[in-house]
């Protein structure tokens, strides 16, 4: 992307939709770098940090959270219209997030079950990714995204180039860090072979199996991994739940998981 008239600071907005706020912490948790960042860009809307101007025209908009209400659908269109480059950050914004599990059960039924007076609640039956509603220029996957991901992408945009998409498997990072594979050496049902890199293989790094919070990698052979887990003695339904978790609405995970789930309700 090309930045407008060099000389003026690029204007940045951080918008929040249905989420846990964890991805915004990639910015709020930057420490000293946050102060430096504020000399490089102008945050015109970032409610949690202070500036509030949701309707402002911006160069770069970071969008956290999934689209879960009719009002959200309206608002994301406005955000798109006002943003030159829109970056969806985190599992909620890129796949619908953990809350997209409600898509499987018929969300309205759940709302009726959850709230004594459902009529008060503006909530769609589904929780969906931002890209299902508007054009997204770049996606950062992860639940949550890390400060590294956000600053690297932002830095690239400030330099006028598209950020690099990380889409290899977690196994690549795992092996580059010389970790011992927990699947091969301990028989754990690691999701690394189908999960998008970016976290630095945190879970195998502390001796546990990856649970795919970064969503599907490119060319993810989810079905083969599911069958491999079943062959190792894990019940089908448990395998299904591994795929239908934080990124249940992403197509490869949905396909591998849905047939394996015992009836959810």
């Amino acid at each position: 992307m090309t930045l407008p008239n060099p000389g003026r600071k690029p204007r940045v907005a951080v918008h929040k939709f249905s989420s846990c706020d964890g991805c915004q912490l990639a910015l709020l948790g930057l420490g000293e770098d946050l102060l430096q960042l504020s000399t490089l860009v102008e945050f015109v809307h970032f409610a949690e940090a202070g500036p509030v101007d949701p309707g402002a025209e911006v160069d770069i908009a970071f969008v956290e959270g999934s689209i879960g209400t009719a009002a959200d659908m309206e608002r994301i269109r406005e955000v798109r219209a006002k943003s030159r480059f829109l970056v969806a950050i985190g599992a909620c914004a890129t796949s619908g997030g953990l809350q997209a599990l409600r898509n499987l059960a018929g969300g309205q039924a759940w709302i009726r079950a959850v709230y004594p007076r459902p009529a008060y609640v503006d909530c769609l039956a589904t929780s969906t990714a931002v890209s299902r509603h508007v054009q997204v220029d770049f996606e950062l996957w992860g639940c949550p995204v890390s400060s590294r991901q956000v600053t690297v992408a932002l830095r690239a945009l400030l330099s006028g180039v598209q950020p690099v998409e990380e889409r290899d498997k977690v196994c690549m990072e795992c092996k580059r860090s010389q970790m011992v594979c927990v699947m091969v050496a301990r028989g754990l049902p690691c999701m690394g072979p189908v999960t998008r890199a970016g976290c630095g293989a945190l879970c195998p790094g502390i001796g546990r199996d990856c649970y795919a919070c970064y969503g599907p990698a490119e060319n993810a052979n989810a079905e083969a991994l599911a069958r491999r887990m079943e062959a190792s003695g894990i019940p089908s339904a448990a395998v299904g739940r591994r795929f239908l978790s934080i990124n249940s609405a992403s197509p490869p995970f949905f396909a591998a998981g849905i047939g394996r789930m015992d009836s959810h309700d």
Partner: protein, 432 residues
């Protein structure tokens, strides 16, 4: 004196609170006709999502309720299951969980004090603007926040949605060298944390003497984090399993968050409530600094919450340093877990206050029903009561801008976390 008038204050997006909420106030004459702290964050139906899941999946799932206090969610969940399954993870796990919780208190409180609340008190729109004039204060805050994050990382590999916690203990044992490095940083941060409390106590905080009930955990020997009984300044003393005998949630039309009441009345949870109820459990070093304040403890002024937060940061630095000083590597990072059917409940002290979980678990270790009561829904009625009080004492004749600013200050002083607040489920209704 100006004529009483009809005003409407509308803050469409509350800035510097976690999550998105709004405030609407309508006054008629000298009285407040309507006051709505509206939380419009869409509900995420977590309790329903948990049904059918294995107990082992719960810590990673409930973390996603809140990015600012995921450790608290994980802690309440694992304690509930361990209690039900009859597991004693042993002293090492117990201590290290406390260290991890210290990390969360430090990062959450430091974030709130410096990025969310302080700009109000020093007259800035936001922390970035404030940093230009008060760089050292902001730097100190960022340093303590980073230290807290690194304590969480020590056990959880990352600070948000850490991956190291499991039922029975942890997934791994931190290396001695990593612990030594963090211990050194904690020791070095002690003077900074102490200075932070003095700085907070010296802030020009509004006077606001109010009557409210404080609720927090109390433990026979410790400042409460993971363990203790539910206590209140009105004499409550209950096991966390008995939570529903005393506390009840209600839905109101204007909010997706449920309101929680103690014996039908609003109450306060969080740092101020904790200190009010556990003053004598604080280490002497922290008490000394608190005793030097211009006001006395327990405090009846909710604006003193910022001092309570600073004091808890100081406490957390000392406590984590104490627990890591003679760090030893245990034989195993976690105890063996064999699930059993029944009802699991636990309450722990999230940065914002009591966080209560309840799970019904089947024979196979899978969840059949879940209920979570986060601190923000407990504080919500109290915040509205405080707003009424604060506006009426300030005087409704003040300008809209002044009233609005005071409202925001009041709300922020509770550090509400709206993401947490909107996951709700009222079980009694869910069943029919």
């Amino acid at each position: 004196m100006t004529e009483p008038r009809s005003i409407a204050i509308h803050v469409p997006v509350l800035a510097r609170v976690e999550g998105e909420g709004s405030l609407e106030i309508r006054t008629r004459g000298r009285t407040i006709a309507e006051l709505k702290l509206r939380i419009f964050e869409p509900p995420r139906l977590f309790e329903k999502l948990l049904e059918g899941r294995d107990y082992g999946e719960v810590p990673d799932m409930v973390a996603r309720i809140c990015g600012i206090c995921p450790v608290a969610y994980q802690m309440s969940a694992v304690h509930a299951f361990e209690e039900l399954f009859g597991i004693d993870p042993g002293p090492w796990v117990r201590d290290m969980r406390r260290v991890m919780y210290c990390g969360e208190w430090m990062q959450s409180h430091a974030l709130h004090i410096h990025l969310l609340a302080a700009p109000d008190l020093l007259g800035y729109d936001n922390a970035i603007a404030m940093a230009r004039d008060h760089p050292d204060i902001v730097r100190r805050g960022l340093l303590l926040q980073a230290l807290g994050n690194d304590l969480i990382r020590l056990f959880g590999a990352r600070a948000v949605h850490p991956v190291g916690v499991r039922v029975g203990g942890f997934h791994h044992v931190p290396a001695r060298s990593d612990v030594a490095e963090l211990h050194a940083r904690l020791v070095a941060a002690v003077p900074q944390a102490e200075a932070l409390v003095r700085w907070a106590a010296a802030l020009d905080l509004p006077e606001s003497e109010q009557h409210f009930v404080s609720v927090a955990l109390r433990h026979p020997a410790e400042y409460p984090m993971n363990a203790g009984r539910l206590a209140s300044s009105a004499g409550l003393d209950a096991a966390s399993a008995d939570f529903t005998q005393h506390f009840a949630e209600r839905q109101v039309a204007h909010s997706t968050a449920l309101y929680c009441f103690l014996h039908g009345k609003p109450y306060m949870v969080g740092p101020l409530a904790r200190i009010n109820l556990n003053l004598e459990r604080l280490p002497a070093a922290v008490r000394v600094v608190l005793d030097e304040c211009r006001f006395s403890w327990p405090s009846r002024n909710p604006f003193h919450s910022i001092v309570a937060r600073a004091a808890e940061i100081y406490f957390s630095v000392l406590e984590a340093a104490r627990l890591l000083r003679d760090y030893s590597v245990p034989r195993a990072a976690h105890a063996e877990v064999v699930p059993r059917a029944g009802v699991a409940t636990a309450a722990t002290e999230a940065p914002r206050g009591v966080l209560w979980h309840r799970y019904e678990v089947g024979e196979d270790g899978r969840i059949t029903a879940a209920r979570i009561v986060p601190p923000t829904s407990q504080n919500q009625a109290r915040i509205e009561a405080d707003l009424r009080h604060s506006l009426e004492t300030l005087g409704l004749e003040r300008s809209d801008a002044e009233l609005r600013q005071r409202c925001e200050m009041v709300i922020r002083s509770y550090d509400p976390c709206i993401s947490c607040a909107t996951h709700f489920l009222d079980l009694r209704h869910a069943r029919d």
